[in-house]
Amino acid sequence: MSEITIIDAPDLTGKRQAFALREDRVGHYDEFREFFSRTFNLDTVGLSKPGYLRAPSGMEYAVIFTGRSGEAFPAGVELFALPEALEPLDDDAVDRDLWAILGWMIDGVGAPWSRQDLETTGKVYRIPAMR
């Protein structure tokens, strides 16, 4: 069961966007691009608004899609945490959130990609979120 929840656009008053992770080539394996397109209805929404997620720490994240002339949309995706405007990020919490978001993404992309492979990869490389 995913720890990630897709949410409606939160009230951004008093919040800021804090960069967390960027992918310039989400269609490198096209099933990943298709997952985001399907999940956030991007054929209809296009660039008009971000997607939003709530992660295990309770932090909300904006999912910003980027386009590139001549390439299928979205070409890229950027994740931004949405903390209180002047509050520093809890880097460890953000890192665990990102790992959870990756697991949610892999679940959504589906076979032959698997969360088990992702987690084993995380263990091999000793990612803090897998310790």
Partner: protein, 308 residues
């Protein structure tokens, strides 16, 4: 604005005492070492290393009276590190190398290729064939569809550099320069003590590590691969060459295993010497760098008719 040059810590100077030199190549600042005199030997590294990989190999070549040139690919080592994914194509990196070789006007050149120093170095050699005397090949490839079975696997290869996963694992956590390289040597404790921090240290920020996850995505695994035509050209043209060539491989290399890769090189270059098997996984220079230096020294000496 150009990025500031990365400064090595003083402790590294004992094992890397070479004067840093820089050239602008296609608008980027490329770091290289250029030591000694005589016929030049060009040592080319791959992902995620830099010239430091050749530190145990260089002394034997200098002692034998060669000029040794060791560039850091744009994106690695002490070279500038573009943060736009589109700056890191195979052709652009090959062109960067061509730009350096032309500026230095290198001729009678022995080109030594490892990992992505292969596809970039072979492209340079074929394009600048009049400058090349001989080839030395280790743990690399030059053919399409895919280089080996390992590279088709979801786990661990494709998962490691998958969309968003690559920027997280290899970017945010520097997994390839750290743990990944550690796992790809035989003498892991020695590597951890003397080298791992150096490889990690020259890629200090997630943005500086972009090429560590972009290069894996340039390995062709199906017909849609971006570099398919380049690799087809490379294999076809290399098979026509008659340059004296030598193959060196790591006995313990399970990523570019000798049965698949060294064997295929023997078919492409049937006149090549070797393969000489040495202790080593993919980063065989870490375990056998000095021995590799002697092999290259003797190989070039035989070209000169001097014999070792």
């Amino acid at each position: 604005m150009p990025q500031p040059a990365y400064t090595l810590t003083p402790e590294i100077a004992d094992v890397w005492p070479y004067q840093p030199r820089y050239k602008q190549v296609n608008g980027w600042r490329m770091h290289y070492v250029d030591e000694g005199e005589g016929d030049p030997i060009l040592l080319l590294h791959g992902n995620p290393t830099w010239g430091f990989l050749w530190r145990k190999t260089i002394p034997a070549l200098l002692a034998a009276g060669h000029r040794v040139i060791v560039p850091d690919q744009i994106g690695f080592g002490l070279s500038e590190k573009p943060t736009n994914e589109r700056d890191h194509s195979l052709d652009s990196h090959a062109s960067n190398l061509i730009c350096l070789v032309r500026q230095l006007d290198l001729t009678n050149l022995t080109v030594v290729c490892h990992d992505w120093g292969g596809p970039t170095g072979f492209s340079m050699a074929l394009h600048e064939a009049h400058r090349v005397r001989s080839l030395v090949i280790m743990s690399t490839w030059a053919w399409p569809r895919p280089p080996g079975e390992f590279h088709t696997r979801i786990f661990p290869w494709r998962t490691m550099h998958a969309p968003l996963v690559g920027p997280y694992l290899l970017g945010k956590h520097n997994a390839l320069a750290g743990r990944g390289t550690y796992l790809s040597v035989v003498g892991r404790e020695q590597f951890r003590d003397e080298a791992q921090a150096v490889y990690e240290g020259v890629l200090p920020d997630p943005a500086s590590r972009m090429l560590t996850w972009v290069w894996p995505r340039w390995i062709p695994i199906d017909e849609s691969a971006r570099a398919m035509e380049r690799f087809e050209w490379m294999e076809a043209e290399l098979s026509k060459t008659t340059w004296p060539s030598m193959i060196i491989w790591g006995r313990e290399d399970e990523v570019f295993d000798a049965d698949t890769f060294a064997t295929r090189w023997q078919k492409i270059l049937p006149h090549a010497e070797g393969p000489h098997m040495v202790t080593g996984r993919h980063f065989l220079q870490e375990d056998s760098g000095a021995e590799i230096g002697l092999l290259i020294r003797d190989f070039v000496a035989n070209l000169d008719g001097k014999g070792a």
